[in-house]
Symmetry: C2
Subunit: 344 residues, 2 copies
């Protein structure tokens, strides 16, 4: 796999929400209208993930047709997860709707509309059986397919598999759900995991987090079966760690996004290294870091920015765990995927 | 002038703060240390403009050497003006220092360190006299050279000029000061204006705002004299307005940056156009707008994004005034530079 393929495979945008074919989503307009009327709301904020932002105007039209004197505001902030709420818009609207992600933390101020997929997963699961051995299998999926999770489990059990599932931790709403940064639901007693969902973003993270497990991808969106191969990513991680070993001046990034803050971790690094500087930002991009004259960066925010976008930064960008290796506090063998736990 | 030259000439980064040669700035450390001690501050936030972000670590080091148990945090958010405070960092630190811009609005929560230039302006002013006729001349400069404004005035008066200066409006701290978005200080009774300062960003805006005046640039940073020529910019503006005349679906951008909000203006457009949608964001970038399936955009935030970065957006991007022309509410002759007034 080339660098470019690896990046595109793990690209944050390539998460199954940006679809090649058109699809009808259920925007749950009734629920939104009810909430607007209940609260007598004047301002309604809508936040969509990147791949669905272009549906915003049509949803706004549908709402305006049913609501008088209600101002609809679309969030133009980048959004890659429920960790990534547009808090500015949320605080300035009476009803705030976050589409496409399951709740990371329930709140009366937010309506989460999950946007479940209506694609039939069974044909691709059937195809994926060629890659599974009999017996124990873990089962995970994303928010978009959670509505069919029990059917998936039953379908596998009817074919003789012993299906292992877990709820994971606080960050995950549902049993069997994975996030790009959290695979606690795959901490199960099986050497193979079936991932049902679109894109390679999630299963690649899963394969990095659980290198001992065979991760079979049944992708009903692109209608393809494959095995998640984290090797290219791991090579890139080792290369970045090695490059950063010579670094003197470190930029330690504290991400200000509501669900991506690990302040204690960032602060601990800075307190123990006189050549480390705390930098706060919301979007962590190559452009923004270019302005800082650092030898290397540690990102305490979204680990997927570090692993997937890493090669695009002008200087090595490490996860907190990788930083400990680079500065010699831990052995190279400790290199592992940086998962994110808790909410806010 | 090619598109590329025009863009680089007006580039937001090219404002004289990003210097080719090294320069010693006065970071006013004593003032910061005094304030930290007075407030018994635990957390200090530092915000630098883009061209000076790389000085952040050295300033942090100097402060850490003088202060015990104080955490220094550097803002990694893009920053192009005093309109652009990192309010997240400001609200979470006991002392917040904004470098490189004069106050748009005084506040006890903010220490503004202007970073005055120590470059000698007289040699380049002498050279600029070749481009000035005798008699009346307006004089303007930027925050970086305000400390020498009275010397500039005296120098011109001693050479027989009648010097016209103005304070401008609330958005401007000082007499004779211009901002990239506000040239009220050049509303003076003279057909020529001498701009003393680095870069072409400010004088090009000035020439757009006052097309009837000859704007002579005396640039002591790059040691060059020239005449501000807004023609290329104006051509681009006309082209954008023409392209947008066919637009059906409009994205109306409300910028959430503290000093760039014109909500009433944005709302008025949306209320009077069923095919207009309000989009909220902080950084207005081509990437972010790419996700929205609009035919054209109106930007109620920073006018320099519209005029200077305009050609980089995938769809026409207009100022509110240009929008009125594109939809037929006003004649083409009304096209003018979009200046920004007031604070927040």
């Amino acid at each position: 796999m080339s660098n470019e393929e690896a990046r595109s495979a793990g690209d944050l945008r390539n998460t199954g929400l940006s679809l090649r074919h058109d699809r009808t989503w259920d925007y749950e307009l009734d629920r939104i209208v009810d909430e607007v009327e209940r609260k007598d709301a004047e301002k309604v904020g809508l936040q969509f993930p990147e791949g669905l932002k272009r549906r915003g105007p049509a949803v706004a039209d549908d709402l305006r047709a049913r609501l008088d004197d209600t101002r609809i505001m679309l969030s133009g902030q980048p959004c890659y997860g429920a960790c990534d709420l547009d808090t500015y818009l949320m605080r300035r609207t009476d009803v705030f709707v976050h589409f496409g992600h399951s709740p990371m933390k329930e709140s009366d101020s937010i309506i989460y509309v999950p946007l479940f997929s209506n694609v039939d997963v069974e044909p691709i699961m059937q195809e994926a059986r060629d890659e599974l051995h009999d017996g124990d299998v873990g089962l995970v999926t994303t928010a978009q397919h959670m509505n069919q999770f029990e059917e998936m489990r039953t379908w596998l059990e009817e074919r003789g598999y012993t299906v292992h599932t877990r709820r994971g931790d606080d960050r995950l709403t549902n049993e069997g759900q994975v996030l790009g940064c959290n695979y606690a639901s795959a901490d199960i007693d099986a050497d193979q995991v079936l991932y049902v969902g679109g894109g390679k973003f999630h299963p690649l993270g899963l394969a990095m987090e659980h290198p001992e497990k065979n991760v079979v991808i049944a992708d009903p969106v692109n209608n393809a079966v494959s095995i998640a191969d984290a090797e290219q990513f791991l090579k890139e991680r080792y290369a970045s760690v090695h490059k950063a070993m010579d670094a003197e001046q470190w930029g330690v990034i504290f991400c200000t996004k509501i669900g991506q803050g690990r302040f204690d971790q960032a602060e601990e690094i800075v307190e123990n290294n006189d050549n480390a500087y705390l930098i706060t930002m919301d979007e962590v991009t190559p452009d923004r870091l270019m302005n800082f004259d650092m030898d290397a960066f540690v990102n305490t925010g979204c680990p997927r920015i570090t692993t997937d976008d890493g090669p695009q930064f002008h200087k090595p960008m490490l996860t907190p765990g990788e930083y400990e290796i680079a500065v010699g506090n831990k052995p190279l063998e400790d290199l592992s995927f940086d998962t994110f736990h808790g909410t806010w």
